[in-house]
Every structure is written in C-alpha cells, then in structure tokens.
Subunit: 157 residues, 2 copies
C-alpha cells in the first residue's frame, strides 16, 4: 500500500509566516465585522489530503485587528505562534501569548484581537473537516456579552 | 445551548515548552526503538473535548533522539516549534525547522530526528481521534528503506 500514498507526503516551508505552496486566501468572502486578517490552509485542505478528518489553518491579524465575533457547534483548537492576543470567550476576556493553546468549546462566542502595537497576531487553528457555519450575534446576545465591562470594552462587531 | 458548553473553553498556558494542566506522558508504554521523547496532549484528549474529531499533541525529542520508525493508515500533521529535524519520509530524508508544516501521508514510513547539538526538537502533531495502530518495519521493509544511503545513515531501529 505504501507506494500509493508515499509521494503525497509533503513539507510546507515557512518563511516570514508564509508557507510556500499554501495558497493565501481572504479571511472571509465578505463582511465588515473583522479587520486585517489573512489566512492560509496548511493541511487538510489541499487535494490529496482527504485522509485527514480535520484542517489546520494559519491566521494572521494585523495590529489593532480582530476576527469575526461568532459561535458554532464545532470546536476550535488555537495555538498562538506570533504576537499577543486578547480573546473574548463568552463573558470573559483572556490574554494569550505564543504557544498558549486555546480550546474553544462548542457554542462559545469568541473573538481574537491583535493587541501588540507593532507585531501581528499569528495563530494556528485546527477544526474538523465537516463542520457547521458560524452564527453571528443578534442584539440580545450582544447585550448579554457586554454585561461584562471588559468584554464591552474589547468587543467589535 | 451556549451555557452548557461555554465553561468548557480553556487556555493551556505554555512555559518553557510545557503546558500547565496538560499531563506529561511517556511517549510509548514500552520499546527501545525510540529515544529521548516526551509528550503532552494539548487538545482533544482531555475530558469534555469529545466535540473534536482530532487530537493535538506536543512531542519533544532530546538532542540526538528520535521517534519510532513506523507507518499507519492515518495521516499526521506535524508543525515544528522548536529546534531542527531530519525526517525520514519513506526513501528520502528531509530537513525541517520551526514553523515548517509536514503532512505525513497514510502508509508513509516516518521517523523524526532531533539534530541540534544543544536544543531539543519540539513539534505539534495532530491526528484523527479514531485511528489505527502503527506498524513497525520488518527486515524486508528496512532493506528497501536503506537502499537510499541518506536514509541508511539516519535510520534507527
């Protein structure tokens, strides 16, 4: 069986937080609820990697930028590799730095902010290949989240 | 639904390549076919993270050490985070450095070596939660692998 698969192994080489051979993609196709984000899919997305039940992506958020505030059934595993983050996890704000590992449980409202003045936030994010689409907060959800002053100060929609 | 799950989100904080709250485990329960390896499961293993279809582990190999030479049906995603590696991928040897991303395809013979004199090799490795057990090479497989002189020099069994 070896010969069928062996040549599909590959190494994506990183240089300045870009991986050659992994296509750059816009973070989301549309929307104004995020800022300064780019992404690359490192594993699980490319043709020939269907054996994986998950995908690993790299996201980079420019200083002052943030990801979309959302929640969903599927869980996230996030490992910071560059810069510092403040992360909204439902009604709290936590800080995270390189190599910290976040497990974002199903249905947790979450948003990652790049808080360094001169260094982007870069993180790896792995997710199940089959997953639901994110849900955005309505006015009631925002009111509940903003009950915490630290969340209210940090949140961007 | 949010309230059921929200408190399960967590941050594992890293310090000197150890994550507090993630148990240290021996690399394998037994065997002499690897050397100087420790591991921690960062995500997908802990109770309450069954929502994930995969696991993310950290492996650290001391200078001169190596992982077990093996192959299996399931694929690996490896991202180096510390030190330098030489990696056997079937009949070739490749080098890898921090943030390089390896996709190890099904049934690829593989072994990771820590090649720095004074720095361990540390890498993240993600795998499907449901996976087969590794297979070790027999004499015929070793002969085929060692047909390449670079592999023959590097391989440890």
């Amino acid at each position: 069986m070896s010969e069928d698969h062996a040549d599909r192994s590959r190494i994506l080489r990183e240089r300045d937080y870009r991986w050659e051979g992994a296509e750059d993609a816009a973070y989301k196709a549309e929307g104004t609820h995020f800022s300064g984000v780019r992404r690359q899919t490192l594993a699980g997305g490319p043709a020939g990697q269907e054996a994986l039940g998950f995908e690993t992506r790299y996201f980079q958020v420019e200083p002052g930028g943030y990801t979309s505030l959302e929640r969903h059934q599927h869980a996230h595993v996030v490992i910071i590799v560059r810069g510092h983050a403040e992360v909204i996890l439902d009604q709290r704000v936590a800080s995270a730095r390189p190599l910290d590992c976040l497990y974002i449980a199903p249905w947790t409202w979450h948003q990652l902010h790049a808080v360094d003045a001169d260094e982007p936030l870069g993180f790896l994010c792995s997710v199940d290949r089959d997953r639901d689409r994110p849900e955005r907060p309505d006015a009631d959800a925002l009111t509940r989240l903003c009950a915490d002053p630290a969340v209210a100060r940090r949140i961007r929609t």
